[in-house]
Amino acid sequence: MRKLLVSPAPHIHSPENTRRIMIDVLIALAPSLLVSIYFFGFSAIQLVLVGAVTCVGVEYLIQKYLLKTEVTIQDMSAAVTGVLLALNLPPSSPWWLMLLGSIVAIGVAKMTFGGLGQNIFNPALVGRVFLLISFPVLMTDWNIPDSWFRAGVDASTGATPLALIKEGLAQGHTVDQIMALYPDLSYFQMLFIKVGGSVGEVSALALLLGLVYLLVRRVIRPHIPVTILLTIAVFSGIFWLIDPTQYTDPLFNILTGGVLLGSIFMATDYVTSPMTARGMVIYGVGIGLITMLIRMFGSYPEGISFAILIMNSVVPLINKYIKPARFAKEVKNG
């Protein structure tokens, strides 16, 4: 007699799996990657390759030889971490900085907690913040390396727009005066190409293209990026309306720094973000607020990495107390 399969319902499964999702994230990162490679040439390629290979390699070594468990590098999650970390570093970073960051990201932030799905903090951001604190000079060196593709384009920028503003304000200039000094700070420039910043921050448009892809493929829900951007816009808008000479306008705040990269790719990391739509809104608002507080009142010019990490630590609490909208609002008594 034929032996049939027997299992509880349902008997079919959607084509989705973890690997497919991770590949989708990489595809969504592709436009930004291409723009970076165009601008930063070999150094961008080098950073991305070192990041992806090191992350996958470290995960493999730890699973195979240290934990002696099943090796799960084929799910591509380590590769995504590596690429994201590369996109979060300055383009002139040396390869060994990337290597060190990747080891910390996977070895410390991911595997010590038990691997995929168990970590509290976004591994790529832990790697970045580790490097930022340990190598502050290298991590704020925004010199632009040579690129074969970009021959002839002026590449004089040595600081990020946010740092320029922060510095200028500290010297007693108004926002308008600073803006006039640096023609690179026009919105048009920032939307398409913004040299001065991390590898992945070059083009806001390329990042938004990635967001559209992720939304269309239903990899992420819009809640987190939308609430982060809205909160930043509202918060900075209030200050800007009060005093436009001391505070930058909302659009400037959204387009500069790592806000787009962070809200689209870093804050939406499944493992470290809330499970419910309501939780995602709280998380997004929290990230937006902390980012703006650090930008305006902190000593760092940019704060989204810290904001996301701080909110990561609140996620378990959000998951515990913020429940989804239940189908039945009332319970039948008796």
Partner: protein, 285 residues
């Protein structure tokens, strides 16, 4: 400079005193009076919190022991008789000695004995499988082989044998806490007296189908043929619902039933290896 240090010391000391006072007041307000004997009894217990005694944990069991009139029916399977004697002595109560017990798996439906009729493809859990259907063999009673008992055992005393697909009890580690009995949805596992020198006999099958049906599903099934009942000199074996059961209180371990069983459903544990009949004849000659 020195005033700064003084102020600091003063402030911190004041804060410390204030907090200590708060702690003291709260501790006094919410103090719960407890019988000191509960702590003593709990200290005697093994602290495994396995639930084998029927209480939620060792402390709960200690509370019940202190409150109880007599200790009849109160037994910590992990600590066994020595611990219960100490508990009884501390509480000034009498306790009768209980026979040590051990978990036995009443199914011999190994992968060889019991051909599979379907392939189970759900969560690896006997509970899930039992809720779904009668099992992946022709036997509706036997072990489902997903290992819920092994997961439930707090003492790592049960392991699934990958070759037979059946659980194996490590009798050194087994404390007869009964967690496996509760975890098995088919009721395959039974707590039985360990027996003198750990020797015991039991019917390793609970299939209630008629002989032919049971035998077709599993070559080691009890077919209710009554042979064991007939040979038993102590009336220790009964057949009910087509399946034999040996009463361990009556069994004197003569092993006649095991010899008579045509399917090998009666299992003997820890006996010296039986010599084949011809060899015995030769020896006598």
């Amino acid at each position: 400079m020195s005033s700064t240090i003084l102020i600091t010391i003063a402030c911190l000391s004041a804060l410390g005193l204030l907090l200590a006072a708060v702690l003291y007041i709260v501790a006094q307000k919410f103090k719960v009076e407890e019988d000191p004997r509960i702590d003593d009894v709990e200290a005697l217990l093994p602290g495994a919190n396995c639930g084998g005694c029927g209480s939620a944990g060792c402390r709960a069991f200690a509370e019940r022991c202190v409150k109880a009139e007599t200790l009849d029916g109160y037994f910590c399977p992990v600590g066994g008789n020595p611990v219960m004697k100490q508990v009884a002595a501390r509480l000034g109560k009498e306790i009768a000695e209980a026979a040590p017990r051990v978990a036995v798996v009443r199914c011999s439906g190994s992968l060889d004995n019991r051909p599979r009729t379907s392939i189970y493809n759900g969560e690896k859990s006997c509970k899930v499988m039992a809720g779904l259907y009668s099992g992946d063999t022709g036997c509706r009673y036997g072990c489902l082989g997903q290992g819920d008992c092994a997961v439930a055992c707090p003492f790592d005393a049960i392991e699934m044998n990958p070759r037979t697909g059946l659980p194996v009890v490590n009798e050194e580690r087994c404390t007869a806490c009964g967690n496996c009995v509760a975890a098995c949805p088919k009721g395959v596992i039974e707590l039985r007296n360990k027996g003198p020198k750990s020797r015991r006999l039991f019917v390793s099958c609970i299939n209630q189908d008629k002989g032919g049906v049971a035998r077709k599903a599993c070559s080691a099934a009890c077919i209710g043929c009554m042979k064991c009942v007939k040979v038993c000199p102590f009336e220790a074996v009964k057949v009910e619902n087509n399946v034999a059961y040996i009463d361990f209180n009556k069994c004197r371990l003569c092993r006649k039933c095991a010899e008579a069983c045509p399917t090998g459903a009666i299992v003997e544990v820890n006996f010296p290896i039986r010599l084949p009949k011809e060899v015995e004849v030769e020896k006598q000659a």
